[in-house]
Symmetry: D3
Subunit: 317 residues, 6 copies
Amino acid sequence: MSEQKQLKDYQLDENIQMFALLKQADIRVTNSGKPYIAITIADRSMEISGMKWDASDEEFKVLEVGKVVFIKAVRQSYRDKPQLKFLEIRPAHEGEPQNVADFVPSGPMKALEMEEEVNTLIFKIINPTWQRIVRFLFNQYRDQFFTYPAAKSNHHAFAGGLGYHSLSIARLAQSVAQQYEQLDESLLLAGALLHDLGKVIELSGPIATTYTIPGNLIGHIVLIDEQIVLAAQELKLDLFSEDLILLRHVILAHHGQLEYGSPVRPLVQEANVLHQLDELDANLQSFDNVLNETEPGEFSNRSWALDNRSIYRPSEN
Amino acid sequence: MSEQKQLKDYQLDENIQMFALLKQADIRVTNSGKPYIAITIADRSMEISGMKWDASDEEFKVLEVGKVVFIKAVRQSYRDKPQLKFLEIRPAHEGEPQNVADFVPSGPMKALEMEEEVNTLIFKIINPTWQRIVRFLFNQYRDQFFTYPAAKSNHHAFAGGLGYHSLSIARLAQSVAQQYEQLDESLLLAGALLHDLGKVIELSGPIATTYTIPGNLIGHIVLIDEQIVLAAQELKLDLFSEDLILLRHVILAHHGQLEYGSPVRPLVQEANVLHQLDELDANLQSFDNVLNETEPGEFSNRSWALDNRSIYRPSEN
Amino acid sequence: MSEQKQLKDYQLDENIQMFALLKQADIRVTNSGKPYIAITIADRSMEISGMKWDASDEEFKVLEVGKVVFIKAVRQSYRDKPQLKFLEIRPAHEGEPQNVADFVPSGPMKALEMEEEVNTLIFKIINPTWQRIVRFLFNQYRDQFFTYPAAKSNHHAFAGGLGYHSLSIARLAQSVAQQYEQLDESLLLAGALLHDLGKVIELSGPIATTYTIPGNLIGHIVLIDEQIVLAAQELKLDLFSEDLILLRHVILAHHGQLEYGSPVRPLVQEANVLHQLDELDANLQSFDNVLNETEPGEFSNRSWALDNRSIYRPSEN
Amino acid sequence: MSEQKQLKDYQLDENIQMFALLKQADIRVTNSGKPYIAITIADRSMEISGMKWDASDEEFKVLEVGKVVFIKAVRQSYRDKPQLKFLEIRPAHEGEPQNVADFVPSGPMKALEMEEEVNTLIFKIINPTWQRIVRFLFNQYRDQFFTYPAAKSNHHAFAGGLGYHSLSIARLAQSVAQQYEQLDESLLLAGALLHDLGKVIELSGPIATTYTIPGNLIGHIVLIDEQIVLAAQELKLDLFSEDLILLRHVILAHHGQLEYGSPVRPLVQEANVLHQLDELDANLQSFDNVLNETEPGEFSNRSWALDNRSIYRPSEN
Amino acid sequence: MSEQKQLKDYQLDENIQMFALLKQADIRVTNSGKPYIAITIADRSMEISGMKWDASDEEFKVLEVGKVVFIKAVRQSYRDKPQLKFLEIRPAHEGEPQNVADFVPSGPMKALEMEEEVNTLIFKIINPTWQRIVRFLFNQYRDQFFTYPAAKSNHHAFAGGLGYHSLSIARLAQSVAQQYEQLDESLLLAGALLHDLGKVIELSGPIATTYTIPGNLIGHIVLIDEQIVLAAQELKLDLFSEDLILLRHVILAHHGQLEYGSPVRPLVQEANVLHQLDELDANLQSFDNVLNETEPGEFSNRSWALDNRSIYRPSEN
Amino acid sequence: MSEQKQLKDYQLDENIQMFALLKQADIRVTNSGKPYIAITIADRSMEISGMKWDASDEEFKVLEVGKVVFIKAVRQSYRDKPQLKFLEIRPAHEGEPQNVADFVPSGPMKALEMEEEVNTLIFKIINPTWQRIVRFLFNQYRDQFFTYPAAKSNHHAFAGGLGYHSLSIARLAQSVAQQYEQLDESLLLAGALLHDLGKVIELSGPIATTYTIPGNLIGHIVLIDEQIVLAAQELKLDLFSEDLILLRHVILAHHGQLEYGSPVRPLVQEANVLHQLDELDANLQSFDNVLNETEPGEFSNRSWALDNRSIYRPSEN
């Protein structure tokens, strides 16, 4: 599967014939009364929209969003953005590629590699209360942790992004704890691994990710705090021991400011560091995303994830 | 006890002889090397500070902050603020007034009256999930609810203020639900009764109130959310049923804005109303506090609780 | 008239034949040089736009914005929004519906009912200065008060919205004044009835409402203050009596914050309450507007009137 | 009178014997029970406070704030600020200086000079509506205009400051109107002369200036707008003619931003210019005030009127 | 050349035949697969876009953005905005108009007039350090100063706008310095002439202006500061003399606030005045631009350059 | 010298006899007319103030701020803050400790150690332009770099703080560059070493540090940018080569936001990382400072350097 030419590689006016993930399909009518289908497809490399003119209702009815389709199309351009003129579109048949996971962008590490590294990190959490909580919650949410994205869009919005982002912060935390001995490495590691775990409840899943109702009405910060409290109850830990207060604080405060959704500001140094490393890794990933779509020696489009900045990619020399 | 002349009633230069609550006492040394005690006492009417000159270490050692003392003093003035020159200060003896509660300001309702009204209100919560959660948590925290203040300082900072503030909002909620039929009265009542209940963990108690460590590091909004989740677990309710999500949302969102410490904004109409009624009642109490210290036809001092406004008390005519 | 099927009730691809209010009409030319008319019509249920292809100049010239038209059309969809393909459009003939008021959304109360309730409320304003001012201004602006909307768009943007919004606040004010005896009910009622009355000068009228030049350059807050001052002059009242100062203050301060257009912040408790009730009623109406366009169990589109929130309509069970 | 040595000229430890304005006097008691008087006096050069120890009630009772007193004192220093040790203080006798105006700071122009210049400027207002309104209001408030300060503290807080500030803006307006021909000079002149005239109602008077009740509850911007409207009524001018709308707008908008108390932003170019010239002149006066208390080559104390800046006075070379 | 009818003068449906500047040209394909060219042209009066249908690749290839073209077109309308249907487009031939400068909007003064006035102003800079720096930098950047715009879009975005804006400020500075004698006119003049000179590095040039890489990454404020420092080095002036510190400060602070890109706030009175005059002139130009596109008695479209205000153009009477 | 008991170690009422640095001394007069000296002294452990009563002018005149003094005093308390009652104070004699550096707090590394590490780091800057600039500027400012503090107060406000803070960031930069290979380590290292070097011009020196005039009027960000430009000129490097633009950008943008004094926001990923590491190290140092003055299990006083937070020091168990 992986040797298929990617959407990104097609040039203007080139003919395309490939499998892709169907992300959206709507039937509409032209002014002259003829039906057409507005379609969005995607593969690992990009997402692209276009029309299938002179479409029939039958063609449309067999299409199912979130499934693999076979398409024939021509790569065109509309208002300086790439689009497709679809000539044919149909569901993938038996024996043809059907695995949705092959058509979604994935992060730089495989789930298995991440899992091994996480296991090693959990060992390094010396404090038994924090280690037990982390183990308990990873037993419960391991699968989602390694497959969910870290966000619906923006930084780490790829399958496995949640695990990868958490690991990256844990690695940074180790470097920082080594340089600044006053920091409690165990608390940083437990915080790094758990801080975004509420996203497995906040988000709908790895593909076609949306916010769930609890995600919108409660938010991932409080959702994981609740899970920690329930875990502590289950493990018969004292809910108001300093250890448990500290762990909850570090996670509740990780957005750094009330206006970014943390109900408390970081009042413990590890909480402050965790917030800063979260921002550092998220920013680096956002820069990376944007620079990948920018030519050397050029400024990017304005990026919402980077506070509307138009950033610069130095020329390669 | 109640017939004792109150601190507020003494005039400049008048001699005072009374029992009061000792709020602070420190021994210090004048430039000429003589020890003196810096003292703050209070009764229901006010708090006042002053010095006991020519004090001995023995006099100081028997004083215990948070207990009732007997004092003789003269009411003086310093930089336009009332102060006392203490002539004598000693712990209350056996047989003399010793009940601290008699010296702290109290709200307009007695605990028992409030409790009856709360019981009636709980009956009006028709939704069984919300009623069970409210009952469960009131069984757990009833005593504190009717004796704690609603804040360390500012609005409703008197013993029983928490219960009184919650009841006031519940009464407003009933009027509003009657006028706007689209509102769910049960959700408003459950929200009104629970929204500030986390303060029984956030604050240290009814007298000499301070913030606890969980109060500072987690905050009353998340503290009560955690208790709701644990109650639901205990009552074997589905944590992700819409009823439970709505109740948690209404409470998490009651500060109205992220920058005021709510991790989510009100996204359900009852959440929005609860926030507005909370603000309305808190503001009315703050105005009342400030106007009580302002003469008719005068502007008050600037009030922190009222965004630094200097408010006006109309003349009585 | 009222039994006509409403625009909102037509399904995709359904044929429409009805009377409606013409809100906009422009003649344009296609790329191939053929003229067409871009049209917006409305009835009580909604507003909708679309094209009349192959239009002639004659067809266009007889159309008059703000009048009733007869149309034949097909309900289509464009970029997920409903639109019409017009087949015929012409002015309503004699004997056909011509009353514009039948095609604009109206509030939940009739003008006459509102007027009766207002009269009762004016009686409850005990203070004679305030009562005389209110009577004077209602004599002057009664008709507009019961027919104007409370805003060009957003909350209470329907004919009669101004009166309905003011009445709703007056009702809330009575509940609140009953619960908090320190409040002056007369001042709240006078404030509730007058606070938005400047909108009868700020806005152009009940239909196709726009801002007038004084509306934009002076604003409704100062416009009604000026009318109060002129009324007081006419009634030979002392402009700088406390009563008149208080009434003007309550109204000038009703937006609550300088940045929302009040030239002073609320410095009197009734001014603060009036501001909060204004916000409460406006928010409830905005929630209602948005929830009416949202399915149970779904989140709404982001609403400008609700600070860009996407709100939740609980499922009905 | 003017040859009297000024307060500012006395050195540390120097004996003072002079007439001054009594700004505050309170009788208090020392720890050892002896009465003393806390006193603030002022002359044109500065304000200074201090104590009269061993004071009698008789000494105190004859003192009247706002009158001229005779004092004997020693110039001392307390926490790096100058203060006085009073040896004697008594009301000025008959035949001694009694004219309060001789002891308050005054601006760079005399009332008469200002009045002449204002008269000339009124002639330059060509538009008859604006000219009539300006004449009418100057007939009513002429005396106050030339004697009131422009603020309680801050820029132009000297007797006559209101007139001087208004004139300075009118002069700037003439230069600007000459350079930018698209501007209506008449509107700028009328705006310059009237924009702060509401301060004659907002402030209590030229000496010991405080805010009045209408000043606090309505504010000078709306107070002058009301006077314009009443004047127009008296002059039988059409309240909603463009000329009157423009004049009111220019004045209502002169604080430039809603958060600075203007109920509307400047939407007409003359309104924008008037706001900017107001700020320019106020800033220049604030810089001047601060630099006068700063040595060449030094930075000033932080100035509230200059957004807390510590400004630099270049060295003289 | 100047007698050619301008783009702005053509009516709907009128045929156009003229020379213009080509600002953009892209070849695209219609749904039916036919190539067309999307074109933007401009002359001094306006910029306008449109399509050339049925275009050939040959037609497209000879077009060069930034050169003069000959066109035949019809003036149409699309979504209430003017557009062109191009019938012919080709490069201007030899002997036909080719001078790009004839097709770009220009300011109210010619370069030569501006240069003369600048020379006179430089003479008025009495301080030798400032005069030498100004002379040095004008020798280096004279040509660009009189041909560059003052911005990519917004105020003074016409060829020569940089010089014209700087001169306008210098004129205002002279008026202000005359009225307020405490100001150093030389410093104001040097500041007025140099403050935006960094734009000759920040912007790409007088036509089709974009931001350069140093423009984006360093910004015109620091770019000119660097040039001043290099000039001082070259002229062997003491970099840390007060004169040079003041000049740099005045220029660094001219945006007035940190959030507008000044690395320091104005701490010297001339810096404050320069900032205010810069804003005054820029605002006046922005008002002028917007009012030129607004009918008398109407409100303009919202203007980004005027903080999103919709401003009013009074009716002419 | 180092074995001397430190100021911090003295208890209430304990007698002190020691050498210390004189930070301030003023002669004043009591109400009863007797002169006294207000004194502030410091050693490495803390700063403390107090009075020498019954002082003579002779005693005062020999004292010189910034020199070592010998004192006898008693440790007292005033408003809960430690203070001294001085019994004797005189300049240190010959043969007694006179080295000011022994009495100022110092960082965790010696200048020599830091210098070695910096030399190693410069080697790791592979890009020749950046290496040459760094070398050039370190040759010029080496001594100051290793002895100046990083701030007048707040984080790293100790002698050598500038070098130590820069090194800490450089170390963090190396860890981060290792984990994120897309980053240019050379640019990060050059940025880390140079970003605050302007402080050697902004601040007055290692002891009794104040802001210089260029420090206040230009600021350290632009001051070092100017030095880079002058160095580039001297080294005959192209000022507008991408390398030089990038280096200047990284340094100009290191405060991250315009409102924090950067004239440009970080538009290059290394600029963003440098800003975040600067904040991380400064925050860690501020936490460290505050926690050192806080008992385990307690909350600190509010810290200006930490956005007014009162932070928590976990109990040691």
